[in-house]
C-alpha cells in the first residue's frame, strides 16, 4: 500500500514541480475496470476443470468463454485483448479439450521467438501433471538432433516458430506425416508481431502449410492471439487465408493507469537544443526506482539501452549502493542471460529493467508498476504495448513517454489528441511481394509438386510458375511443376530481416595459459549490424560494461567472431558509415516544374570507414579512428527526388548551401514519412546522392560527399528515400503515392518550428546540417510542395 501511495505522490510531484511541470505536455487517466467472469462451459472435460481449479482458476473471463464457444462452433478465431488478460487460456482450453478427448489429435503452436515457446511450455507443463494425455515439446533450433526423432514420434502438441516450420518441418513433412494427418489446431500467438517482412513471410509459410495439410487430408482450425492493432481480423485473415472471427471485448480486470507525455526542456533556444532525452528518461526512472517501485524502461536502440542502463545503475548505486537491482535486456544478449533477467524480474530480485522492444512481446516478467518510454517507439501499437507492460496486475500504474528531439516525437508529444486519439496502426503485410512470394513458391514446389492450375492460397500463380520454369528451377510434367534443382530452397530464405549468420562476441580478458580453450561468449551480433557495432576498436557495451573489440573475423572461410577485452573507459563509439545509392530500374515517375519524383529499384551500399568516440554523460566528441571493413550492398526499392538545376540556381547560387538545404529536406521527409506509412523510422533510409558519372559506384561519407558536390564539374544532387529491407516491403510504392501530402506536411512542420536556424525537430541539428539548412530547405519546400 505504501508503494501505491508513493506512485501517486511521485506523479503529483512531477506535475506540480516548477522544473518538471512545464515539461509535461499532456496527462491522461484511464479508470480501473472490474472483471467479468462466467462459469466453466458445460462441455469442458471435468479433468481440465479440475486441473484449472488446482491452479486457482474457478471461472473464466467473458472473452475466454466466448472464444471457447466460437472455436467449438468450428470457427477460426483471433482474440485481441490487452496484456495479462489471460489470452493464452483462450487457445489452451479448446486445445486441451481436443487432446484429452482424442488421443490421435495433433496441435501446432507458433511463437515469434524461442523464449515465448519456452514460457508457454512451462505453463502447459504445470497443467500436464494432471492430464497425462498431454505430450508437448518444443521443436526449434535448440532441440538437439538426437532428440528430434523422439519429438516427432511422441509429441501431440508441438511448440515451434515460423522459421523452424519453414526450414525444418515443412520441407521434411513426410517425417511429420502423423502430425499433418491429424492436425486439429494451429495456434498463432503474438499475431501483431507479424507485420511487414516477417508477416508477409508467415502468410506464405501458412499457404505452404495448408497445401501440406490438404495432402494429408487435414483441415486445421486456427486460433490466434494478438495485442491491440487496428485490423487484427484482417491481418489474421491475410495470414491464414481464412475468414477469422475477431473477439475484442476483454473481460479481464484492469487497474487505473496514468499516461504522461514529457518533453525535455529547451536548454538552448537559439540552437533549438533540448536536454538529452536519455538523461531525462534516466532521471524519471530513478525517481520511481529510488522509492522501490518496479519500473521498466524502453529504449529505442541497443546503444540507447546500454547508455540508459549505465546512467540508471549509477543513480541507483549512489542511493542504495547496489546497482544489481537494475538489469539490461536486449537482443544480442545470450539466451541464458536473458532467462536469468526474466527470472529475477519475476521473483522481484530485480527491481528495474532497461530493454529494447525485445520485452514488448509477452515474455513473462511478472509485475511492474511504471513504464518509462525513452523515445516514441515508432508506432501507436508499440506505444500501447510498451505502456501495457506496467500494471499487469497492480491497482495503479503509470507510463511516461519521454520525447526525443526527432520531428516525429515532437509531433506526438505536442499533439496529444493525435497520440491518444489515433487508433493503433494497421499491421500491413504484403504476402504477394514478388521477392517473398517467388521464394516461397520454390519452397512449396520442393515440398510438393504444384499443379498447373493450382492456386497458392487464393492467389493465381500461373505466370510465376512459368517464370520459374524458364529459370530452370521448376520442371513441368504431367500437369505439375516439380522442383528441379539440387538446392534446398528454404536455406536461402530468412523470414526476418536479420540474417541467420551471427557473430559471436568472445571475451578474452581473463585468458591465461590455463584457460586457452575456454571460450567466454558474452553476446551475439547479427550480420547486418555487425560492421556498425563490433568493428575493431569499437567499444561494445554489455549490461553497461564496456568491452573493446580487438579483432573481428568476418571472412567467408572463417568463424564469425569478435574478440573483445574488458576495458575501463568513459566513452562509447559511434560508427561513421560511407554510403552510396544508385538507380537500377525506374518504375514510375511524375514530373512537375520544380520536382522530378521517381520510384523504382536501387542499389544501396554501406561501408563502415571509421568511428567517433563519444564521452558518456556529456556526449562530447572526444576522438575518432579509422576502420577497414568490406562494403555491404543490397537491392531495394526507393523514391527519389530531383530538383532541376535551373530551379536550384534560383534558390541559391551556393552549392554548399544547396547541399545543406537538400539534406535538411531529406531529414525532414525521412522522419515524417512514418506517419503516412505506418512503419518505423528505421524501416527507411535517406541519402543525398550524386547522379553524376564521377560518383557512380563510389561510396562517400557525409563530409566527403559534400566536398565532391562542391568540387565536381556537374551538380546533380538527388534525395533518396529507400526501404531498408532488401527487396522492399512496399514502403517505397506507398511513399510515392503520398509524396504530395508528405511534402505539404514537411513544409508546415518546418514553418511552424520555432527554432532559429534548424534543430533536431525540423531539418536536423544545426551543428550537423549547418546554419544555411533551414532557410534553404524552407525555400525548397515552398517550391516542392506547391
Amino acid at each position: 500500500m505504501i508503494q501505491l501511495r508513493m506512485l501517486g505522490e511521485i506523479l503529483d510531484d512531477l506535475l506540480i514541480s516548477a522544473v518538471t511541470g512545464p515539461c509535461i505536455t499532456a496527462t491522461r487517466h484511464f479508470p480501473a475496470r472490474a472483471a467479468v467472469t462466467v462459469p466453466f462451459p458445460a462441455g469442458l472435460d471435468p479433468r481440465i476443470a479440475d486441473a484449472l481449479r488446482a491452479r486457482g482458476i474457478d471461472a473464466l473471463y467473458s472473452h475466454q468463454a466466448l472464444a471457447w464457444e466460437r472455436v467449438e462452433r468450428g470457427e477460426h478465431v483471433v482474440v485481441v485483448t490487452p496484456t495479462a488478460s489471460g489470452k493464452t487460456l483462450c487457445y489452451n482450453l479448446p486445445v486441451l479439450q481436443a487432446l484429452v478427448r482424442a488421443p490421435e489429435a495433433r496441435v501446432l503452436y507458433l511463437f515469434p521467438t524461442k523464449a515465448l515457446a519456452q514460457d508457454q511450455l512451462a505453463e502447459l507443463e504445470a497443467l500436464a501433471k494432471a492430464l497425462p494425455e498431454l505430450r508437448m515439446s518444443t521443436y526449434d533450433g535448440d532441440t538437439p538432433q538426437d532428440a528430434r526423432r523422439a519429438v516427432r514420434a511422441r509429441a501431440n502438441l508441438v511448440l515451434t516458430n515460423p522459421d523452424m516450420l519453414h526450414s525444418g518441418i515443412l520441407p521434411h513433412h513426410t517425417k511429420w506425416a502423423n502430425l499433418f494427418q491429424n492436425l486439429r489446431y494451429v495456434v498463432v500467438d503474438e499475431l501483431h508481431a507479424y507485420r511487414g517482412v516477417f508477416g508477409s513471410h508467415l502468410a506464405n509459410v501458412v499457404r505452404r502449410l495448408a497445401r501440406i495439410c490438404a495432402h494429408y487430408g487435414s483441415t486445421p482450425q486456427f486460433i490466434l492471439a494478438s495485442a491491440t492493432i487496428a485490423n487484427p481480423g484482417e491481418l489474421a485473415s491475410r495470414i491464414t487465408g481464412q475468414a477469422v472471427v475477431e473477439l475484442t471485448e476483454s473481460g479481464a480486470p484492469r487497474g487505473e493507469k496514468t499516461f504522461v507525455c514529457y518533453n525535455p526542456p529547451v536548454v538552448n533556444r537559439e540552437l533549438g537544443i533540448r536536454a538529452p532525452y536519455l538523461g531525462e528518461a534516466a532521471a524519471l526512472a530513478l525517481r520511481f526506482l529510488r522509492e522501490k517501485i518496479p519500473t521498466i524502461v524502453f529504449a529505442q536502440s541497443r546503444l540507447a539501452t546500454e547508455v540508459l542502463l549505465t546512467t540508471i545503475k549509477q543513480g541507483v548505486a549512489d542511493r542504495t549502493g547496489d546497482s544489481s537491482i537494475v538489469r539490461g535486456y536486449r537482443g544480442g544478449y545470450l539466451p541464458t542471460r536473458r532467462r536469468a533477467v526474466e527470472r529475477e524480474l519475476r521473483a522481484g530480485d530485480a527491481l528495474g529493467v532497461v530493454s529494447t522492444s525485445a520485452l514488448e512481446l509477452g515474455v513473462d516478467i511478472g509485475h511492474l508498476d511504471v513504464a518509462v518510454l525513452a523515445g516514441y517507439p515508432g508506432t501507436i501499437a508499440s506505444l500501447w504495448q510498451q505502456a501495457g507492460r506496467a500494471g499487469r496486475r497492480s491497482d495503479r500504474s503509470a507510463a511516461v513517454l519521454v520525447a526525443t528531439s526527432a520531428p516525429l516525437d515532437q509531433f506526438m508529444v505536442t499533439h496529444p489528441d493525435y497520440l491518444f486519439g489515433t487508433p493503433p496502426e494497421h499491421a500491413r503485410i504484403n504476402p504477394d511481394n514478388p521477392f517473398i512470394l517467388v521464394n516461397h513458391l520454390k519452397c512449396a514446389a520442393f515440398e510438393l509438386p504444384i499443379g498447373e492450375e493450382e492456386r497458392f492460397g487464393a492467389l493465381e500463380v500461373r505466370r510465376w510458375l512459368a517464370a520459374l520454369e524458364d529459370e530452370g528451377v521448376l520442371h513441368r510434367t504431367g500437369g505439375r511443376y516439380h522442383w528441379a534443382s539440387e538446392t534446398y530452397p528454404a536455406d536461402h530464405v530468412s523470414l526476418r530481416t536479420v540474417t541467420t549468420d551471427n557473430f559471436l562476441v568472445i571475451d578474452t580478458t581473463a585468458r591465461d595459459a590455463r584457460e586457452v580453450k575456454k571460450r567466454q561468449i558474452i553476446a551475439e551480433v547479427d550480420w547486418s549490424s555487425a560492421f556498425a557495432t563490433i568493428y575493431p576498436k569499437a567499444i561494445y557495451l554489455v549490461e553497461s560494461e564496456p568491452y573493446e573489440v580487438q579483432e573481428l573475423h568476418f571472412r567467408e572461410d572463417e568463424e564469425k567472431v569478435a574478440y573483445v577485452k574488458r576495458v575501463d573507459v568513459d566513452y562509447f563509439t559511434d560508427a561513421i558509415t560511407a554510403r552510396g545509392v544508385w538507380i537500377l530500374r525506374r518504375l514510375d515517375g511524375r514530373e512537375g516544374e520544380a520536382l522530378l519524383a521517381e520510384q523504382g529499384e536501387v542499389l544501396v551500399a554501406e561501408k563502415v570507414v571509421g568511428f567517433k568516440k563519444i564521452k558518456l554523460g556529456t556526449l562530447e566528441n572526444v576522438g575518432s579512428g579509422e576502420v577497414e571493413l568490406p562494403q555491404q550492398e543490397r537491392q531495394t526499392t526507393a523514391v527519389w527526388l530531383t530538383v532541376p538545376p535551373a530551379v536550384l540556381e534560383r534558390v541559391s547560387p551556393s552549392r554548399e548551401a544547396l547541399v545543406d538545404g537538400l539534406r535538411g529536406v531529406s531529414y525532414l521527409l525521412h522522419h515524417l514519412a512514418p506517419i503516412f506509412l505506418l512503419c518505423d523510422v528505421r524501416d527507411l533510409g535517406a541519402w543525398l546522392g550524386d547522379t553524376t558519372p564521377v560518383a557512380a559506384g563510389v561510396v562517400a561519407t557525409r563530409e566527403s560527399a559534400a566536398r565532391r558536390f562542391v568540387q565536381a564539374e556537374e551538380f546533380r544532387p538527388t534525395i533518396y528515400l529507400y526501404d531498408v529491407h532488401a527487396g522492399g516491403i512496399g514502403l517505397a510504392e506507398r511513399l510515392f503515392e503520398v509524396l504530395p501530402d508528405l511534402l505539404r506536411h514537411a513544409r508546415q512542420t518546418l514553418e511552424a518550428c520555432p527554432c532559429a536556424a534548424g534543430c533536431p525537430s525540423c531539418v536536423g541539428p544545426v551543428n550537423e546540417v549547418g546554419r544555411r539548412a533551414k532557410p534553404i530547405a524552407a525555400r525548397l519546400l515552398a517550391l516542392l510542395a506547391a
Partner: protein
C-alpha cells in the same frame, strides 16, 4: 476488325516461331539397352543385366559375396535384425537430384542387384520424368518385399531415408523393419586410416581394383539429369547408368572382399590387416591382436605402424604380457616424431612393475631430452620433468616400489 485479327495471328505466329517445340525424346531405353515396362502405376524404363557369379568386378569375384559369413559381418556392422545369407539380399544404390534431402530431392535412377537362378541380376529403374516416379516406386516395392535385407553404402544416412520419403509422399508403405547392412560402417573401420577418404569410388579403385575408364563424377549427376529433362538428349545419361551399375556391383564386391578377409588373412596387405584388426576389436580382441601383429609383420607405413604398436601394446599390457608390451613401447619410442606415450608407459613399467627405479629415471630423462629437442608442448615437458623429479626423490630416499 480484320486487320486486328490478322495482327493477332501474326503475333501468335511470331511467338510460336520464337519457341520451338520440345525436341522429340531420344529413346533412352534403346540407348542404355533397356525397355519400357508397364508397372500398373504407369510406364518406366527398366534395364536388366545378368552376370555370372564367377564374374570378376575388378579383382573381386561376385560369388565371394555368397560365401561371406553374413551373421558375423552383420554383427560387426551393427545391423539391427538378422541377416543370414547373401542370396536373398538386395544390393541397392540410388542416383538422385541432389544431396539436400527433404521432400524435394528425387531418386531418379535406382539400381538393385539380387541373386536369381544362379546369376546376379542387376535391375536399374529409371524415370524419364517426374511423373514416372509412381511407376518407379511400384517396381521397387516387390523387390523390397521379397528381400531378406538391404545392402547399401551410406544408405543409413542417405539412400534409405530418401526412398522412405518418396514412399511416404506417394502414400506407399515403407518396409522400415527390413534389416539393413550399411557397408560405410565397416569400411570406415577398415580403411579410414590409410585411404584418402572412404568414398565408394575410392574403395573401388584401391581395394577392388576397379578401373572406371570414363566415369562421371557423382557431383555432376543431378545436373546431367536436369539437362536431360529439359533437352531430352539421353546420350550423356549412358555414363550415369554405367556409374550406378558399377556402384551396385561394388557393393557385392565389397561384401565378398570383407567376407574373405574375415575368413582368413591370406593375401592382405599390411594396412588392410590393420583395418581388419580395428573391425575385429569389438567382436574378438584376440583376433584383433592377431591382425595387428600380422599387419606389423607385413609392413606398414610409419604413422600406421606407430599407431598399431601403441594399440597392440595396450592389449599386451591388459593381458600382462609385459615382455611383448615393452618391446612394442621400445619400438614406438623410436618413432621419428616425438610421442610421450610409449616413454611414459616404459617409465611406469620400470617404476611400478620391475621396480627398477634407476631404469625408470633413465627412460624419463631420455624422454625429457628428446621432448626438449623436439620442441614439445609445455604441458608435456612439465609432466616429464615432474616424473624425473619424483623418481629422483624416490631414489635418494631409497624407497622400495
Amino acid at each position: 476488325m480484320a486487320s486486328t485479327l490478322d495482327d493477332l495471328r501474326r503475333v501468335i505466329r511470331r511467338i510460336e516461331a520464337a519457341r520451338p517445340p520440345r525436341p522429340a525424346p531420344e529413346p533412352v531405353e534403346r540407348l542404355v539397352g533397356g525397355e519400357v515396362v508397364e508397372t500398373g502405376s504407369g510406364p518406366l524404363v527398366v534395364v536388366r543385366r545378368e552376370f555370372a557369379l564367377a564374374h570378376r568386378h575388378g579383382g573381386q569375384a561376385l560369388e565371394d559375396a555368397l560365401a561371406a559369413p553374413l551373421p558375423l559381418l552383420a554383427r560387426l556392422a551393427r545391423v539391427e535384425g538378422a541377416l543370414e545369407a547373401a542370396d536373398r539380399l538386395l544390393f541397392l544404390d540410388t542416383e538422385t537430384t541432389g544431396l539436400a534431402g527433404g521432400t524435394g530431392t528425387y531418386a531418379f535412377l535406382v539400381g538393385a542387384a539380387h541373386v536369381e537362378g544362379g546369376r546376379l541380376v542387376v535391375v536399374q529403374h529409371f524415370m524419364r520424368d517426374f511423373d514416372e516416379e509412381p511407376a518407379l516406386l511400384a517396381a521397387l516395392e516387390p523387390l523390397l518385399a521379397q528381400a531378406a535385407g538391404v545392402v547399401t553404402f551410406n544408405g543409413a544416412g542417405f539412400d534409405l531415408p530418401l526412398l522412405e520419403t518418396r514412399f511416404v509422399l506417394a502414400r506407399r508403405r515403407w518396409p522400415a523393419s527390413l534389416p539393413h547392412l550399411d557397408l560405410l560402417r565397416p569400411a570406415r573401420r577398415v580403411w579410414a586410416g590409410w585411404l584418402d577418404d572412404c568414398r565408394l569410388a575410392t574403395l573401388e579403385r584401391a581395394v577392388l581394383g576397379v578401373d572406371r575408364a570414363v566415369d562421371v563424377p557423382g557431383s555432376l549427376i543431378p545436373a546431367l539429369y536436369f539437362d536431360y529433362l529439359r533437352s531430352r538428349r539421353a546420350a550423356p545419361l549412358a555414363r550415369v547408368f554405367a556409374h550406378n551399375r558399377d556402384d551396385v556391383l561394388s557393393l557385392v564386391g565389397l561384401v565378398g572382399w570383407l567376407g574373405r578377409a574375415l575368413e582368413g588373412q591370406a593375401g592382405l596387405r599390411g594396412p588392410e590387416l590393420l583395418g581388419m584388426g580395428r573391425l575385429w576389436e569389438h567382436e574378438d580382441p584376440d583376433r584383433a591382436a592377431a591382425c595387428y601383429r600380422a599387419a606389423l609383420a607385413a609392413g606398414l607405413p610409419d604413422p600406421l605402424a606407430h599407431w598399431v604398436r601403441l594399440r597392440l601394446a595396450r592389449w599386451e599390457k591388459r593381458a600382462a604380457r609385459w615382455e611383448a608390451a615393452c618391446a612394442l613401447w621400445e619400438a614406438a619410442s623410436a618413432y621419428a616424431r616425438f610421442d610421450p606415450r610409449p616413454w611414459e608407459e616404459l617409465a611406469k613399467f620400470h617404476e611400478h612393475r620391475s621396480g627398477d627405479l634407476a631404469a625408470a629415471r633413465a627412460v624419463a630423462e631420455r624422454a625429457l631430452a628428446e621432448a626438449r629437442s623436439a620442441g614439445a608442448a609445455l604441458r608435456v615437458l612439465d609432466a616429464l620433468a615432474c616424473r624425473v623429479a619424483r623418481l629422483e626423490r624416490r631414489l635418494t630416499r631409497g624407497l622400495a616400489p
